[in-house]
Symmetry: D3
Subunit: 253 residues, 6 copies
């Protein structure tokens, strides 16, 4: 395994985690995903559970990111204390919001993250404080999610905000936020604009519903990470498919 | 059962849920309440538990509302994703706050609710996206709670805000927020003002401590839903009553 | 409050606890029950939850008993370690079973309870071992439940088994186990036989569905404790009653 | 849906549930399985969780069975109280064990199941006692699992034990218990013997790893229910497949 | 025990609680701490768990404070409803923030805390409303945490804000927020400024990593409460020390 | 780390785990214990929690043993399925009990452990069945606990039972089970008899209350593993010590 999300030479592969289960982390690690994104925007996983999932991911050496809205700002520090390797902030629409996201994730003087060394991230207080506070490789990733046409138009500025490590786009969010009448072409144009941000060295990410949405040209376009499906949809689709296959085999005439 | 909260011809009957139990939902359904309000303002029920309660309510076809303050805005989408049929927003004191409440509950372009189709509300990702996004009967109810004298004075405007489906008043909150010296008469005058809002077609709701607070004139006054007591107070009162009755029967002289 | 279940001059009043809630304990204490019986025979409360309930009962100084079948013998010691004040053993049909029940609850040489002083009961290991092991007032109550006609016929022997502190009868269990065709008279005769056991100084207990089943003659008949209703039935009945009352007040014509 | 497990004209389709999630039940219901078997033999699901899963299954009208070893006999009544529609008993090797299984599931006079009407199964005490106790359609299914060569040899007797509703065989268990050197032929012979039991009107069941193990001749052979895969294996396989597919699409050369 | 945090003649002794355990509360009470601070800023304890811890602390008569950031404002009322004796607000940097903190903790007309009498704090609705609302001894403590050089410079004003009961300083936070280059001397000067606030009658508090940081001159300097270490660091240090001691005794040469 | 409990050249160091926390496992791993024993005899940790602790221990490569009485036999397979590296069976008093313990832990033909390859231990069903079933290094340790004078007298026979990997003695248990009047000398004699079993190549283990009970002569006497203290006692002692130290420093005169 690898402790880094973003690196030259590969597109890191991730899984959204939406079920309140440590087993989802264990299965992601066994399936050799590079990272998970524990979703606290679009699931009801609570903070204690997320902390258990983060702990398991660290133990199994799969990178645990957490998705948290800016509006849940008081949870950012809690989950970084719990050992999250980074935060995915949804709906970052401006540089000001990106700056705020960074501020929540960095210790003073770069930011305003509270100091909590008695947590998992600080070795329960046994780690040297300097090590806990040290910037660098271990510092949390800050990923800004681009979900509106306006956000796409300032994606490069958001991506170049000091402390932002990468961007994440999702076609579905974008499609809906544009008003669906804009059509696939409109979304294609937005995606192209988004991808242009890679020109200034910004690491791009994307999320797709299944592996067919993945493509070997992603790397060349500047993508360095991709989230493919999520635990509960994989389970639901597999269960439905198995049931209908079994049923048709039982009742074939 | 009935999937609607507000309809002509009846006053829907609800129960506050304050205990971290799915049994409270099962008992409410068995007791033939029309809806429950899972209270995340004045209980400590967490998001995972609320999601289980919502799931159970949907399964048993009793309407699950959730009470959430605007300050907990990041949880609104999570609980709608989990299948809540609507949100009761406490302390809505102005049209601006009502607009914000609606914005959190409606998808673009009407609002800014994030798109989370891989949740229970979206059939874990197996439902057609259009169906998940469709406005109409299935869209979440937005109920604005009126708790101050000032809020009463603008109750009609709040109730007529586009996207607001109904209002909810409670005498206790109002009494305390007025300063209790205002007395019952002051509260009665406020309630009358509140009820006047029904004139412009706004659905009214109220909450009372027990069934004696319910009255067959409610419908004529414009009330379409009433919340009567809550699980933990019902349990506490029943236990106390049973104990003192038993004790007096044991020790009668 | 009082740390004893059985004492001259009163009939102690208890509540079955069937909900996985510490609130049930708090409410029982506030309602001034003398004891609770946390039911691990006819609910699905698990061991961790029961331990929290026991801890809360001890903190609030209401006596926590636990009901556990002999077949769950490996949990007896765990819940005594957790601080249970006694065990109610259902379906004790013979002296041999009563002896086994005692054996599980007493340390050597009287019994074979394992030594677990690092538990709540042992002050997490900080209490003096002698104090933890000391027989006497603090030792767990052993209550044998009499639920069949045969068990009634040997109730006096069961109650006089060394280490058995009291008996508990329930009409419902007895009625069903007799075959219901035996009728109320048959059950009355069994109850009379049961009550005769009080003649040899055995403390009797009973369980009734509600306070109307309680009666000031109980003490004279030898009863020293009575369990009246349970948390979930109190809640369900209160909710149903409130709903139907409210509904009739809303729709009275 | 259908409240019966075993009926003429179909092979009922089930799913093992091994994850501590109500979502597994919801997904099974949405996928239109006829029943689930909540596995308390080969998972660590605890009693509170199993009860939540049972409650959800009942609410969604999918039949909840629970697998419990005879050695966990004290949990049988608890989970029937919680609303389980039946128990699958693993490793029933003799008629005596089958009789014991039935005894745990039937009220007196047919068996010795304890009376617990204040549970979900008894409507929290609000249901009429006679209804709660009534034998007939609603009474729990007793399924005996056949897992050794010896058990196969007495399968017909086990299946004809009064109160046993069906049998369940699994090739894997059988293969391992025979000693794997017996080979596929040995197992085939055992399966044939097992299927011969259908001749005396016994309902047969089987469990297979995936839908390819299902076959339209099952009905004719006497099978009336089949369990196909389980939640955690479906999730693990889907996650692994998705990851390796995505990875190959990212790195194809 | 004593229901007050701040009183003449003593420095109250507290423990941070960071583990999701009621046992931490029980152990703190047994160890005769005067108060606990359940930390919802730097742990992942969720609201249901915090409520259980608060309930246990009240039952054992040890004072339960909760640390909650202003950004988690919607949880303040929930945990006061659950029975918290006060809130520690981290990062109070201005009088305006102090005023906001008070506003969240006081009922109208002094503040805007919502009325939730059906909670533990209101006796589940059985307590007289006037008693629930009464200001005075029972009203929640508001403690403002001073964590930046700027906050120190206005500490006296913050401490004298109406409704603020005390201040809390921590050297670590201060050191990091100053930029660590300021050195111990810089921090010492800040601490001296902080202590000067005691001159206007403000109750001071501090937090230290272990008992060696405690000193009998604290009282004279104006300190009335001190938090010494936390559950998880105590456990981690004890486990590490025990392991290394045991290992050295096993392998001494 | 090392996957083996028993090996030449060292005395493995372990910690009892009694708190329902994954943090206890993380701290044990960080403190470099070789193994943990998750105690399901003298704590109330439930099966789901134990499974999470086992999973964390495996992830962090610290060996997870579980203590389970023979009377809890139906949980042995569940926790081995969950990934336990071995079972410590308390109160093994005879060879027959030792044989039974082995039988529960070994697959056919050596034993009667049920086949559960869809569990963690079987890679959720993705592992090759042969690998799951393979005897050898990975097979669970069976440790028999010697707790009575009689058991000591047959300790060598128990230790030489095929499939038993080691013995565990504890002075406290022994002292109490003898009747405490036997005195330290009596216990010393029993310990000497126990240690004599090492002569026939049996791996010995012991449990002590703290590191002072550990001694470099253990290895020579045949001990290969020692359990030193437990999580909750370490926490309780550290909290008490810290409080009394702080208090004396605050109030020194
Ligand atoms: Mg989005
Ligand atoms: Mg209110
Ligand atoms: Mg009974
Ligand atoms: Mg099997
Ligand atoms: Mg701080
Ligand atoms: Mg022992």
């Amino acid at each position: 395994m690898n402790d880094t999300l973003i690196e030259d030479g590969r597109v890191a592969l991730g899984l959204w985690v939406k079920l309140p289960l440590v087993e989802s982390i264990e299965i992601a690690a066994a399936s050799r995903y590079d990272f998970v994104v524990i979703d606290l925007e679009h699931s009801t996983i609570n903070t204690e559970r997320a902390a258990q999932q983060i702990a398991m991911a660290r133990a199994l050496r799969i990178l645990p990111l957490v998705r948290l809205p800016l509006a849940a700002r008081s949870d950012v520090g809690r989950l970084l204390d719990a050992g999250a390797a980074g935060i995915v902030f949804p709906h970052i629409d401006s540089v000001a919001e990106a700056v705020e996201a960074v501020r929540l994730c960095r210790f003073p003087p770069m930011g305003e993250r509270g100091v909590g060394p008695t947590s998992r991230a600080g070795g329960w207080g046994l780690m040297d404080l300097g090590e806990y506070l040290a910037p660098g490789a271990g510092q949390p990733y800050v990923i800004a999610q681009i979900e509106t046409a306006h956000a796409v138009s300032v994606a490069a500025e958001i991506g170049n905000t000091e402390g932002v490590d990468g961007l994440l786009i999702g076609r579905t969010d974008l499609t809906v936020s544009m008003g669906r009448q804009a059509g696939p072409d409109g979304v294609d144009r937005l995606v192209a604009t988004y991808e242009a941000a890679a020109g200034s060295g910004i690491a791009l990410g994307t999320a797709v519903g299944n592996s067919e949405g993945v493509d070997l040209r992603l790397y060349a376009k500047g993508y360095r990470f991709v989230v493919v499906s999520n635990d509960v949809s994989l389970l639901a689709l597999a269960a439905t498919t198995s049931a209908s296959s079994a049923r048709s085999r039982l009742h074939r005439d």
